[in-house]
Structures are given as structure tokens and as C-alpha cells.
């Protein structure tokens, strides 16, 4: 036994908030990888080798799936928002420094490394790890307790069969999976599922782990029992984790009910659309939660870590996936706190004006157009904060212009669209909107014609946009011509 295990033992024995020490009698040696006798005769082997097929070519995941950190989250080192300093996870996994460089000579029981128990069920057994994190703890800059302050409103498609309109942290199960791949389909399994829920004054994170494929049935049934019919909070889970788990349940002939499900990724994409270039959980942790993960097993290496564990039964690398998964789950709770706070008070609750645009968009999704308008107006009116870079106010104006027009506040709409049209760069949409407002709402044909003419100067003849403006100009000229005798009469 190497020093790592000793260290883990030591940590486990004195941490008050640490999970109960693993009950020794329950420990079971992970079965060594089954050895299949090579039944391949030499001739067949030669034929197969001649084909040169079957390199297990690992196809790189499509870029749009890479949201869990991974190699592509590196090249966007954005400066942190002012006033935010990074902190490591306060309640880190006690075995955080289990190093892949540990001894490999003997299979090291994963149970001991991660403090797991073997959970026996009617349908088999699997490994389970459980940790209670006090709600008073900080995750980065966020006190976890804050997640209880505000419910998060649900967008219509998130509401589930019960049409639940909002979700509190106490109702929800926070769910994240580690899978054998990102491609989905029936051949991808979730070998590690982390589920977190609030229990008393702690956030309980329970992790379900398959030691090998035959554990899956027991794992899935226990998971289904534990989460019952509670609503879900996830990060990208609406399109990835939940459909994948549902497929796994179906493959194991088990039916699971639909429920309300809030996806923090979609909300985050809206809320920080203009201030963050990437919305991977890693980036949100740094920039929104102020969390420094420290040394972490990147998501894209996790499938390989499990396959490696299956073959070698050595737990050193896969133990890192437990930590990765737990931080993911706890980060969701912290992010939930942040999203709830912003949506509770969208006007005063947001710090950087750039976020106003995203907040307004999310409010529109939630069916709150008045709030969205106010949010944008405040954003435009706010003086630039000291020390922050000047922000591009045009997207705010553009959205506000559309909203005012929709609310028939034509004068305000005109103000915003004119401000955009008078900008340095030619703005085709703004010219069109100004011309439309003058023509149809204010019946000011000369002004409409003037703005149409200004647009035509910027456009290339023969393009569709040009034709549209030319058509408008011609119509305006006809109208003006018709009006002349009338005006004489008047």
C-alpha cells in the first residue's frame, strides 16, 4: 500500500465533516478483469490483421459537445470580473491528491480510495459514495446556503407534466453523469452518476458507480428510487445527461417518469451571453462562482479512465473522476444560487451592465417583457462603472427598439433606432426600422424618404436589400406626389 492510501486513511479518520469511514467488513475486492481465452485461430487472425480494421479510433467529440472544460476551454483566458478572487473548493474531496503516479503494482481497492460502500440491492450491487457538505460552506465566493433564498422560475418547456413554474433548491435533485462517451446512442453508458439534494443543513452528494457493466441494472434502479419523482437541475442535462439516462433505463427495461427539469447551461448562456465567451462549467466556475478547481481530471479523459479501470482494476485515475463529478454537482448548486438571485431582482441584482442584455433575453423567455424592458433601460442608463471596459450598448438598444415597437411605444422605439442608425457603422436594420416608423406610424413621408435614401447610399445596387429600399423609396415618392395637391387644398 502506498503513501496515498495511508494519507487517505488519515484524512478520513479526523475530518468531522468527512463521510463515515468505510465499514471494513463491507469492502469487497473488485474482481480482476476477466480473462478470455484467445480462441482465435492463426488463420482467422491473419485474415483479420490483413484487413487492418479496428483501430478503436476514438473520434474526437464534436465541438458543440465540448462544454465540460476539456481542451477547448483553455484558449479563452478572460480577465475575471473586478472584485472576484478565486478560491479552491472549501470542502474538497479528502482524497483530492490521489495521484495517478501512485503505486500500480497491486490493484488498489477503489472503495478505500474514495470511501465507497458496496450497495447491495435485489438486482445486484454497485459502489456508492456519499458526502454531506454543510450549507454554510463556501463554494468559491458563493455560500451554498444562498441557493435556498430564491426559487428559479422555469421556462415553459422546462415545466414538466405538472406544469411547475418555479423550482427551489430544496425540491430539486442536482444531477450530473460521467459517461463512456459523448456521442450518445445505446452504446454509451453512464458509469458514474452524481446526484445532490438538500437534506437538513447539508447538501448531500451521492455518487453511484458501476464497477463493470453488470452493475448497471442495480445502479439505475437505486438511482430511480432515490430521486423518486423530484424535479431536476442539471448542466446541459436536458440534451445530454437525462436523455442518456432515460435510454439506459429503457435498455434495462425500466420506465422513469418525466419531470420538471431546469438546465443551468441554457440559463447561463442567456445570462452571461455578452460577458463570457464560453459557457463551459469551468469558465462559469471561475468567472461567476470564483472557484479554482485545482488539479482536475479533464472531462474528455474520463471515458478512458473508466476503460482503464476496467482493464487494470487500479482505481487511482478513476478516483479523480469522483472528485470531478462531485465538484460539478456542487457547482450546480452554487450556480443555482446565482441564477436565482439575478432573476429575483433583475434590475439591481446584476453587477455588470453587459449582463443586462442576457438577463433581458432570459426574462423574455420567462414571459416577463416589462421586466426585460426595464432591465435594458437601466442597462443603457447606467453610467459606465469605474475600471470596467466600455461596453457595446448597441445590442441592448436593438432589443429595446424591438420591444418598444412591439409595445407600441413608437416614440421610444424611434429614439433607439435613430440612435443606432446614426452610429458610425452603417446599420441596415436600424435604417429600415426608422424608415418604417416614420412611414407607417408617424406618416412623415419626407423623413422616411430621407432615411431610405441614406440607406441606398450605403447599399450595393442589385442586392436584395438594395431592391427592398429602392422599392420603399419609390412608394414614398408616389405617396408624396399624391399628397401635393392635397396639401395645397389644406
Amino acid at each position: 500500500m502506498g503513501s496515498n492510501t495511508d494519507r487517505i486513511r488519515r484524512i478520513l479518520s479526523d475530518g468531522a465533516a468527512a463521510p463515515p469511514p468505510p465499514a471494513e467488513p463491507k469492502l469487497r475486492q473488485v474482481p480482476a478483469a476477466e480473462v478470455v481465452p484467445a480462441k482465435l485461430d492463426a488463420e482467422l487472425r491473419a485474415r483479420l490483421e490483413a484487413l487492418g480494421v479496428t483501430s478503436a479510433a476514438r473520434t474526437p467529440p464534436p465541438a458543440r459537445h465540448r462544454i465540460y472544460g476539456g481542451p477547448d476551454s483553455k484558449p479563452a483566458p478572460q480577465p475575471l470580473p473586478p472584485g472576484l478572487t478565486l478560491r479552491p473548493p472549501a470542502e474538497d474531496f479528502p482524497w483530492a491528491d490521489v495521484s495517478p503516479a501512485g503505486p500500480r503494482e497491486a490493484p488498489t481497492a477503489l472503495e478505500r480510495m474514495v470511501g465507497a460502500i458496496v450497495r447491495e440491492t435485489k438486482h445486484g450491487s454497485f459502489l456508492q459514495v456519499e458526502r454531506r457538505i454543510p450549507l454554510a460552506a463556501f463554494h468559491g465566493a458563493i455560500e451554498l446556503e444562498r441557493a435556498l433564498d430564491h426559487p428559479v422560475p422555469l421556462r415553459p418547456h422546462e415545466r414538466g407534466p405538472c406544469q411547475r413554474t418555479a423550482l427551489t433548491a430544496r425540491d430539486a435533485v442536482f444531477l450530473d453523469t460521467e459517461t463512456t462517451g459523448l456521442s450518445g446512442g445505446t452504446g454509451t453508458v453512464a458509469f458514474l452518476v452524481g446526484a445532490g439534494w438538500v437534506e437538513g443543513d447539508a447538501f448531500l452528494v451521492r455518487q453511484y458507480f458501476m464497477r463493470d457493466y453488470p452493475d448497471e441494472d442495480a445502479l439505475l434502479r437505486a438511482l430511480a428510487e432515490d430521486i423518486g419523482d423530484r424535479p431536476l437541475v442539471s448542466f446541459n442535462g436536458r440534451s445530454f445527461d437525462w436523455p442518456l439516462l432515460r435510454t439506459r433505463w429503457q435498455m434495462n427495461r425500466y420506465k422513469i417518469g418525466e419531470r420538471a427539469h431546469h438546465d443551468l447551461l441554457t440559463a447561463s448562456r442567456r445570462l452571461w451571453c455578452s460577458t463570457l465567451h464560453s459557457h463551459s462549467l469551468g469558465v462559469l466556475e471561475r468567472h461567476v462562482l470564483g472557484l479554482e478547481r485545482g488539479e482536475d481530471l479533464p472531462g474528455y479523459l474520463i471515458p478512458a479512465a473508466w476503460f482503464d479501470f476496467l482493464r487494470s482494476a487500479w482505481g487511482g485515475t478513476i478516483a479523480q473522476a469522483f472528485r470531478h463529478n462531485e465538484i460539478d454537482v456542487v457547482s450546480m448548486l452554487a450556480l443555482f444560487a446565482r441564477v436565482g438571485a439575478i432573476l429575483d431582482d433583475p434590475i439591481d441584482g446584476v453587477d455588470a451592465p453587459g449582463d443586462r442584455l442576457g438577463t433581458a433575453r432570459l426574462l423574455l423567455d420567462l414571459g416577463e417583457p416589462e421586466q426585460a424592458r426595464r432591465c435594458l433601460e437601466v442597462g443603457l442608463g447606467a453610467p459606465p462603472e469605474e475600471g470596467t471596459a466600455p461596453f457595446d450598448e448597441r445590442p441592448l438598444r436593438r432589443l429595446l427598439g424591438h420591444l418598444c415597437r412591439r409595445d407600441e411605444a413608437f416614440l421610444e422605439a424611434l429614439t433607439h433606432w435613430r440612435a443606432l442608425a446614426e452610429g458610425d457603422a452603417f446599420d441596415e436594420e436600424a435604417h429600415e426600422q426608422v424608415a418604417k416608423l416614420y412611414e407607417h406610424r408617424f406618416k412623415d413621408y419626407p423623413a422616411a424618404l430621407e432615411w431610405t435614401g441614406a440607406a441606398l447610399e450605403h447599399l450595393v445596387e442589385g442586392t436584395r436589400a438594395y431592391e427592398a429600399f429602392a422599392h420603399r423609396a419609390a412608394r414614398l415618392q408616389r405617396r408624396l406626389a399624391r399628397m401635393k395637391p392635397g396639401s395645397r387644398k389644406g
Partner: protein
């Protein structure tokens, strides 16, 4: 709209053609099949009552006998294959049992598979109309929650609609590729379909020959295990064009016993089939009149007589050129000019739909098409069909000719033969086409490479139980347990708890293509008047030879100049021009042998080889087969004047190389044979090269005949790969590279598809037959010094080529193992014996 022609009008046009002194001598065969009366059967008693008025509203009071037979088999749960000609009401054979089942149980589901996307759209509309008539429901879209609905699920189905298709469509119309890559690997999402799957319809079964069929057989193995998992056991209904072995082919594809329905009950008018061999225009050079010219004149005759005509051409460029010629025919007519259109892959879907409608309602008089219209896309029936060149197989010829053939009245198919060895072989032996049964469709579901690929997909879809691996679920030819063990060694599956689990971070179906389709298409953007409209799409592999800068790209015979090709963004920017020429790309290929899989023909050493035909001690010749890398590069293009085919100039093509791995069969000419030819290395080697070109030309043509494939499925290249020297097409102003010292030329015949499709593999053991056929073809040709029908035109290959090529073939033949050469079989006999 053109007034439909009466039967006697079409007959008169045919009579005029065959009695025209200008053609009389060129007609090598004229076959007349008499009209056939319809054979009816009553509607089945157990037919859902709602279907009777629905059928009546479409003019159907009773069924043709084959429709009734198919219905009876299918409803009794027997797998069925229906083999009847074009336009015999084939679709009702499967639509009727399927609809009947759906009306009885709206929870039931059916899956239709078509080889192409266009076919599924067509058939979906037709079935939907019948459904609506039966349910009295006018919104049968799958999305609207109506009584019954069909939906197409293919690459064009928007993601937002996919879920609706999965959950609601009663009949899902798709293709084998989608089933393989998108449906089966996600079968849990398709639970509704797989739990309730009652019928699987496979249309155009004959298209699933060769590698495509071998893949499909494995996809169907996977489909059946997924159905078993979800508790369904569907009945398969297949339809096929006439092939020699439809029943056994279907049962090998499905690995199920099938009932054959082949007696056609639909009426047929009198059908004429005429084979025309263009006359020799220049006896000295052995040049025949252009087959395109002859085809054009015959098609013009038909069109001028207002006979609805389809012209099939062998390539996209020829299709466009022919379209232009036939459009020009009516250019002088200002008003009400009859419509002549082109049709080929690459046209945008809406344009193709428009043409199909125009053909059905008769508003289009003539259409020029590639084999894209050979399949059952509904274009109604036409009066006349002109085949510009032998399409490559008997089955294709019948399918194409079958596009002309109404239920009443006469129709005609005219095959105009090219001066290509293959076509000329048919001119010599017209009975080959007229009497022989069409090809047998072949497939080999147990091809090791294909089987292993699909085992991976199967393990991904559902863990493979030990008992299943030991069963015949994946055929009986290979030890599936052993193969899975091998996959486990490579870390993609894991054996545990008596099951083989997929155990890799990848999605195996994406790495396995059922046919050689390359990924990204090019779009052609028309920049005329800054419109930037997309006017066409071009497959990746076609872009090299059609979208180079300077090319004239034709759509509907309109000419567009390619101004700019943005290779990385896969866009070609074109501008409309009035050009007097079209362009033809020249490319060359190099072949690098990666691995020799087989060498020789199983020669028994020690036996003295003797050959009667040549009086030389034979030098051993050893044909080989293996994996190769083909590097294809387009190097330049010719500008060819319309009508006169004059060469107006040349241009360079600067495009990257197209590199792919495939399989090849090849034979190296040993130095002793070159010496024996009497053209030693010191002598100007053009004679040797001419002879090699000549032999390659004959072998290439005959290989297609021997293998029943399209000539374009195989490429041919001559070179010495150890010295990296390959013969290239000559370009003026660019001196041809001299062959190296001690040139050891090899003739490579390779599959022109990435991965190979099994042609070279099939060719390799038949090299002897191939050489015998070549010798016969060279001997039978009347020309003096070589013509396009044998070694290639005299002007291109030089005067000595024919003699040298004949000697070279004899020497190669003598060098083969005597047992192979001593049983000379002509290609006709060879193919006849396999029928």
C-alpha cells in the same frame, strides 16, 4: 401541353426508324415483345371496409393478380418478394397489406426503406394520399396527430421534426444508411416503432447488390435483433426489378425464407427494342460515327413526332451536352416550344421535383438523364427511350428501357452502342442482351471486413449475449465468438457476465459507410447579377473534375463559367455565360501497393507450362490482388466545341490530390516478355507504351463485362510503382515524362471507391478469362491498326499498337498457370455459365 400520341402514332415512328435506309444497316437487332392482357383478381374479403371506397376513388375496383398474391402472402405473415416490371402497380403490393394492418390497429408501425432519398419522398406522398382517402382525414401529417401518418426520416429531416417522426409516424420512410447510422444506434428512442413494427418494406431490392447489399444484410441482422429486444417480429415485403435470382437473393439478404411473386398481372403494350451500332465512318482509322450523334438524331426524330422520350446518358457531362443539343432542336420555334429538360444528381431537390411532375402530367416532352431516373421515381411512363451507350448491366438496360412502356400502345427502346470494347462485344453478340437472363445479384453478408464492422455496431446497440454469438444471428460462416474476442483484444468490446459490451469512446456507425459516399458536398453559387443563388450541389469526388476554375459547369444545359473555387468552404462561384464549348477534365492516377493479399492464381510449381498459341517458353506471370492507395489528380482540361467536338484549347487545373485507399488487381509485365515483344528498352518506348495502353483499354472494358459492373466503377492505370512512374494523359506543350530505365510496367485495375467494393477481388481469380476475352476481342475486331473498339483509336495509340497488344496479351496468357489458360471461355460464356 402536348396532345398524347395514339398507339399507332408511336408504331409509325418506330416503323419509320427501322425502315429508314440511313439506319437499316446499323440496326444489329430489333426485338418485338407482343402486348399482354391484364390479369385481375378480386379485392380480398378481409380488406378493411374503408379501403374499398378509397381504392375506388383512385379507379381501383379489383387488383392485378400479383398485387393480390403479395397481399395474401404478407397478411399471412410470409416474407414476400415481388418481381414485376416498371409501372405494374408494384407499390400497392406493399401499401395494401400495410394500410390494412394500420387501419385494424393504429398502434402498429411500418418501416419503408428506399435506396435513395428522392424515392422516399415520392412514396410518402403516394401512401399518404391513400391513407387520407381511407380515413377521410385531410391532414395526415405525422405532426398533426391525425388518424394515420407517414413521415420521411432522412438527413434532410429537420431536428425539430425528428422527435415527432419517432413518436407519431405510423409509417417511417427512410433509407438503409439512416437505419444504420441514426436509427439503430438510437433504438431506445425509437421504442414506439420497434415495439410495434409489423412490416418492413424494402423497395428496389436489386439495387442492394455487391458491397451495399453485403452491408445491408448486416444492417438487417442488426434490425432483427433490435426488434427481438423490443418484442416485435416484422414481416418483410420486398420489391425488385427483374433479376435472375430474386427469390434466393432476397432470402440471402434477409436470411429468411421468402415467397416469390413474379407473375405480372398488369397489362403491357407492344414493346420494341432496337440496337443500333453506328456505322464505320472512317474505315482506315476504324472510327465509327459518334454514338452521341446517332443517339441525338434518333431522339430528335421521336421528339419532333411529339413522342414522349427519355434519353439515358452515361455521365453527367454527356447528359448536359445532350440536353443542350435537344433543346437547340426547338430553339427556332418561338412559341409553344416543347419542353426538353435534363435530370441528374446534383440538381436541387425542388428542381428535380418539378421535372418529375412535368413528366407525369406530360407537360415535358423529353428528358435527358443519367441513371438517376433508372430507379422507381414516379415519372409516369413514356413512349420512347434512347440509351446512349450500354449502361453496363443487363438489369440496368432493362430498367432504363422499361421507362418507355405504357399499359396500352406501342413503345420503343433504342440502344445506341459506343465504340467501346464492351459495347462492341454486345454488337457482335446481340443475343447476350436480348436472350440472357439479367445478372444475378450477389452479396456476401459474411465478408469478414463488413461482418466485423457490423459486429461493432451491433455490440454498441445491444450487448451481444454468448448464446447469440454462438447462434446464426450473424451468419454461420465465421466464428463470431472468436471475432468478438479479437475485438476485445483491440479494446472495443468487453466480455463480462456472459455478454459482450461495447467498450469504447466512439460511435462505430459513423466510421462505417454502407456505400462510397463522401461527406461534404460542394455548392455551386451563381454570382450573375450578384444574386448568389445556390444552383446545384456536387459530390466531393465529382468536384475535382467538374468545378475547377475555368470549367464550364452546366445545369439544364445552361452554361456557367467557374470563376472561383473555394476549396476549403466547399463553394464554387459561377457566372452565366454563352459558351460555344464545354470542358472535359483530364486526370491521372498513381497507385501505391499497401499490401499484397493474394498473388498468383494458385499455380502449382514444377509443372512445365506450355501454351499452344505462342511458340515461346512462357515467362511466369503472376496477377496479384491487394490493398492500394490511389492518388488521383486532375491536371488539366480540354475545351471542346459543341457539335463538332473540336478541341479548342487547354487549361490547367490546380487542385489538391484526391487520395483514397481501395483494392486493386494487377499484373506486372516481366522484363522477359517485354524483350519478347521485340521492343527492348533501348528502342523508343512509345511502341511499348502504346501496346500497354491498348491492353489496358481492352482489359478495362472487358473487366466490366465480366464483373457485371459499370465501367466507371473501376479505374485503370499503368505504371511502375517502385520507380514512381505512371503513364499520364498527354497535354500539349508539356513533354511526357520518359519511362525510367528497366521499366517494369504494371497494369492496375482498381475499385474506384474508397475502401473498395469487391470488384478487384472478384476479378483477380478470373484474370485468365479476362485475357482470353481480350485476345478474342482483338482478333474479332475488323480494324487494321486499332480502333476505339479494341485498343483505342489509331491516332492515340499509334499504328503498331494493335499487333503488339495482341502479342502482349498472348504472352501474358501463356505465362499464367496452364490450367487457367487452357480452358478458354469467352466472357459471354463465362457470364452465361454463372447465370
Amino acid at each position: 401541353m402536348i396532345a398524347p400520341r395514339g398507339p399507332e402514332d408511336v408504331r409509325a415512328v418506330i416503323d419509320a426508324l427501322v425502315s429508314d435506309p440511313g439506319y437499316r444497316d446499323s440496326i444489329v437487332a430489333h426485338q418485338i415483345q407482343p402486348a399482354e392482357e391484364p390479369k385481375y383478381a378480386p379485392l380480398p374479403d378481409d380488406l378493411d371496409a374503408r379501403l374499398v371506397p378509397a381504392l375506388a376513388s383512385r379507379g381501383i375496383q379489383q387488383l392485378y393478380t400479383h398485387q393480390r398474391a403479395a397481399y395474401d402472402h404478407a397478411t399471412a405473415g410470409r416474407h414476400t418478394v415481388v418481381v414485376t416490371p416498371t409501372a405494374s402497380g408494384k407499390t400497392l403490393c406493399y401499401n395494401l397489406p400495410v394500410l390494412n394492418a394500420l387501419l385494424a390497429d393504429p398502434g402498429a408501425r411500418a418501416l419503408y426503406l428506399f435506396p435513395t432519398k428522392a424515392l422516399s419522398r415520392d412514396q410518402s406522398a403516394e401512401l399518404l394520399a391513400l391513407m387520407q382517402a381511407a380515413t377521410g382525414d385531410d391532414a395526415g401529417d405525422a405532426g398533426t396527430g391525425s388518424l394515420l401518418g407517414t413521415a420521411v426520416y432522412d438527413g434532410d429531416t429537420p431536428p425539430s421534426e425528428r422527435r415527432i417522426v419517432r413518436d407519431r409516424a405510423h409509417v417511417v420512410m427512410s433509407n438503409p444508411d439512416m437505419l444504420h447510422a441514426a436509427i439503430l444506434p438510437h433504438h431506445a428512442r425509437w421504442m414506439r416503432l420497434f415495439e410495434n413494427l409489423k412490416y418492413v418494406v424494402l423497395d428496389e431490392l436489386h439495387t442492394y447488390r455487391g458491397v451495399f447489399g453485403s452491408h445491408l444484410a448486416n444492417v438487417l441482422r442488426r434490425l432483427r435483433r433490435v426488434c427481438r429486444f423490443h418484442g416485435s417480429d416484422p414481416v418483410f415485403i420486398c420489391s425488385s426489378a427483374t433479376i435472375a435470382n430474386a427469390a434466393s437473393f432476397a432470402s440471402r439478404l434477409l436470411e429468411l425464407p421468402v415467397e416469390l411473386v413474379e407473375e405480372n398481372g398488369a397489362p403491357l403494350g407492344e414493346r420494341h427494342f432496337v440496337m443500333v451500332n453506328p456505322p464505320i465512318a472512317n474505315p482506315a482509322l476504324g472510327l465509327r460515327a459518334s454514338y452521341l450523334g446517332v443517339a441525338r438524331r434518333i431522339a430528335s426524330r421521336f421528339l419532333k413526332a411529339s413522342v414522349h422520350t427519355i434519353v439515358f446518358c452515361g455521365s453527367r457531362t454527356v447528359t448536359e451536352v445532350m440536353t443542350k443539343y435537344l433543346k437547340d432542336l426547338f430553339r427556332s420555334r418561338v412559341d409553344r416550344a416543347p419542353r426538353v429538360v435534363g435530370y441528374r444528381g446534383g440538381y436541387l431537390p425542388r428542381e428535380r421535383r418539378g421535372i418529375e411532375t412535368g413528366l407525369r402530367d406530360g407537360s415535358i416532352l423529353g428528358v435527358v438523364s443519367t441513371n438517376a431516373l433508372e430507379l422507381g421515381i414516379d415519372i409516369g411512363t413514356l413512349d420512347a427511350c434512347v440509351l446512349a451507350g450500354y449502361p453496363g448491366t443487363i438489369a440496368s438496360t432493362r430498367q432504363q428501357a422499361g421507362r418507355a412502356g405504357r399499359r396500352q400502345g406501342a413503345s420503343v427502346g433504342v440502344l445506341v452502342l459506343r465504340s467501346h470494347p464492351l459495347d462492341q462485344y454486345i454488337a457482335d453478340h446481340p443475343e447476350f442482351l436480348l436472350d440472357a437472363t439479367p445478372e444475378q445479384a450477389q452479396l456476401n453478408a459474411d465478408n469478414l471486413q463488413i461482418l466485423v464492422s457490423h459486429l461493432k455496431c451491433a455490440a454498441f446497440e445491444l450487448p451481444i449475449e454468448d448464446a447469440e454469438a454462438a447462434s446464426a444471428a450473424f451468419g454461420e460462416a465465421e466464428d463470431v465468438q472468436a471475432l468478438l474476442g479479437w475485438l476485445e483484444e483491440h479494446g472495443v468490446v468487453r466480455h463480462t457476465g456472459g455478454r459482450w459490451h461495447w467498450s469504447a469512446d466512439s460511435y462505430p456507425a459513423t466510421d462505417i459507410s454502407l456505400r462510397s459516399v463522401t461527406s461534404t458536398n460542394f455548392v455551386v453559387v451563381d454570382t450573375t447579377r450578384n444574386q448568389n443563388d445556390v444552383i446545384a450541389e456536387v459530390d466531393y469526388s465529382w468536384a475535382f473534375t467538374t468545378l475547377y476554375e475555368g470549367a464550364i459547369y452546366m445545369v439544364q444545359s445552361e452554361q456557367y463559367h467557374v470563376d472561383k473555387l473555394d476549396w476549403d468552404r466547399r463553394k464554387a462561384y459561377v457566372r452565366k455565360v454563352e459558351s460555344e464549348y464545354y470542358t472535359d477534365a483530364m486526370s491521372y492516377a498513381k497507385v501505391k501497393v499497401l499490401q499484397i493479399l493474394r498473388e498468383g492464381l494458385g499455380r502449382r510449381e514444377g509443372k512445365a507450362a506450355t501454351a499452344s498459341r505462342v511458340s515461346l517458353v512462357p515467362t511466369p506471370v503472376s496477377p496479384a490482388f491487394g490493398e492500394v492507395e490511389v492518388i488521383r489528380k486532375a491536371i488539366g482540361y480540354k475545351k471542346i466545341k459543341f457539335y463538332t467536338q473540336e478541341n479548342l484549347g487547354w487549361g490547367d487545373i490546380l487542385l489538391p490530390e484526391d487520395i483514397y485507399h481501395t483494392q486493386a488487381a494487377w499484373v506486372t509485365v516481366p522484363p522477359a516478355i517485354i524483350e519478347a515483344l521485340g521492343v527492348p528498352a533501348s528502342v523508343p518506348q512509345s511502341d511499348l507504351i502504346d501496346a500497354l495502353h491498348g491492353v489496358a483499354n481492352v482489359l478495362h472494358g472487358l473487366a466490366a463485362l465480366l464483373l457485371m459492373c459499370d465501367g466507371r466503377d473501376m479505374g485503370v492505370v499503368i505504371g511502375d510503382q517502385r520507380k514512381d512512374y505512371f503513364l499520364q494523359p498527354a497535354i500539349p506543350g508539356r513533354p511526357a515524362e520518359k519511362p525510367p530505365e528497366q521499366f517494369e510496367p504494371t497494369i492496375f485495375l482498381y475499385d474506384q471507391y474508397s475502401g473498395g467494393i469487391g470488384l478487384a477481388e472478384a476479378l483477380h481469380p478470373r484474370f485468365g478469362e479476362l485475357l482470353v476475352g481480350a485476345l478474342e476481342r482483338l482478333g474479332a475486331c475488323d480494324c487494321a491498326h486499332g480502333c476505339p473498339s479494341c485498343v483505342g483509336p489509331d491516332l492515340e495509340v499509334g499504328p503498331r499498337a494493335k499487333g503488339l497488344a495482341t502479342r502482349l496479351v498472348s504472352l501474358l496468357l501463356a505465362g499464367l498457370q496452364p490450367g487457367e489458360a487452357a480452358a478458354p471461355t469467352s466472357p459471354a460464356e463465362a457470364s452465361g455459365s454463372s447465370v
